[in-house]
């Protein structure tokens, strides 16, 4: 049963990869024809193949998240992991540690920037005032908002707004928490001497 599932997985991923050029060419061709597709046997077949390709892509995305073996084989190849012996595994562990901490630091900085507001006010007497603040409001939670909340308008306001779109804050927060939780979960057994 497991062998059948693995074979099906290979077929679906292979189809998603191999049909990509055809699918992109087909979409390009339809777009050039004004977005309409002529009726006919071959076009119908292409349409069905295209739909299957979209489904296979959706499967690949889900597999990337939930199928550990696939994720590790694909992403470790992409990142250029080399783990042929103990020294290479040690080098990989050091590199992964540094990368993890750097990414975490970068995400924390981005989180803070998304919560920071800066306003530069020019008073009528010629003096200016720069104010920097941080805040978290319900607008930060509206991840699917089409646009970031409008800047505050006021007399003499020269510039005012967030340094990053404020609705990105929950995404940064979520990824930071997931990374920390995933690391703690996967390292706990190893730290307790119970194997990785």
């Amino acid at each position: 049963m497991r062998a059948h599932l693995k074979r099906a997985h290979r077929w679906i991923v292979g189809y998603a990869v191999c049909f990509s050029p055809c699918s992109l060419l087909f979409v390009y061709w339809i777009t050039r024809n004004g977005g309409t597709m002529p009726e006919g046997g071959l076009y119908g077949v292409m349409n069905n193949l295209g739909f299957a390709w979209v489904l296979s892509l959706a499967y690949c995305v889900a597999a990337l998240l939930f199928y550990k073996e696939f994720r590790e084989s694909l992403l470790s190849r992409l990142a250029g992991f080399r783990e042929q012996d103990e020294r290479e595994r040690l080098v990989t562990a050091h590199a992964a540690r540094n990368t993890f901490l750097l990414t975490l630091a970068l995400q924390t900085v981005l989180l803070i920037l998304s919560l920071t507001t800066v306003s530069l006010v020019r008073n009528p007497d010629g003096h200016g005032m720069l104010s920097i603040g941080m805040g978290f409001s319900s607008s930060n939670l509206d991840v699917w908002a089409r646009e970031a909340p409008a800047r505050q308008e006021g007399p003499g306001l020269y510039f005012g707004g967030h340094l990053l779109p404020p609705n990105t804050a929950p995404i940064f927060l979520l990824t930071i928490l997931i990374q920390l939780a995933a690391f703690r979960l996967s390292s706990r057994r190893g730290y307790e001497g119970l194997g990785a």
């Binding site: 042929q84 012996d85 103990e86 020294r87 290479e88 040690l90």
Partner: protein, 73 residues
């Protein structure tokens, strides 16, 4: 806080033993199941192998492990 283990300086006679046995780094690496770069790193003291690999290397030369890896004062 866990106390740090003392830093020991461990030298090795890999180059000499390899020459005696007329083995290349590549051949030794293949015998103990590591890459040639790893053998090179061990030889130059850049990398200290695990106990398991240390014993595998010593067994490859037919010598006890303390004849291959020497604790320096």
């Amino acid at each position: 806080m866990t106390p740090k283990p003392p830093k020991l300086k461990i030298a090795n006679r890999l180059r000499v033993l390899r020459a005696e046995k007329d083995l290349t780094q590549e051949e030794l690496a293949e015998k103990v199941g590591v890459t040639r770069v790893t053998v090179n790193c061990i030889e130059n003291g850049v990398y200290l192998p695990s106990l398991e690999l240390g014993y595998a290397i010593a067994r490859c030369f037919g010598k006890p492990v303390e004849d291959v890896f020497v604790l320096e004062d």
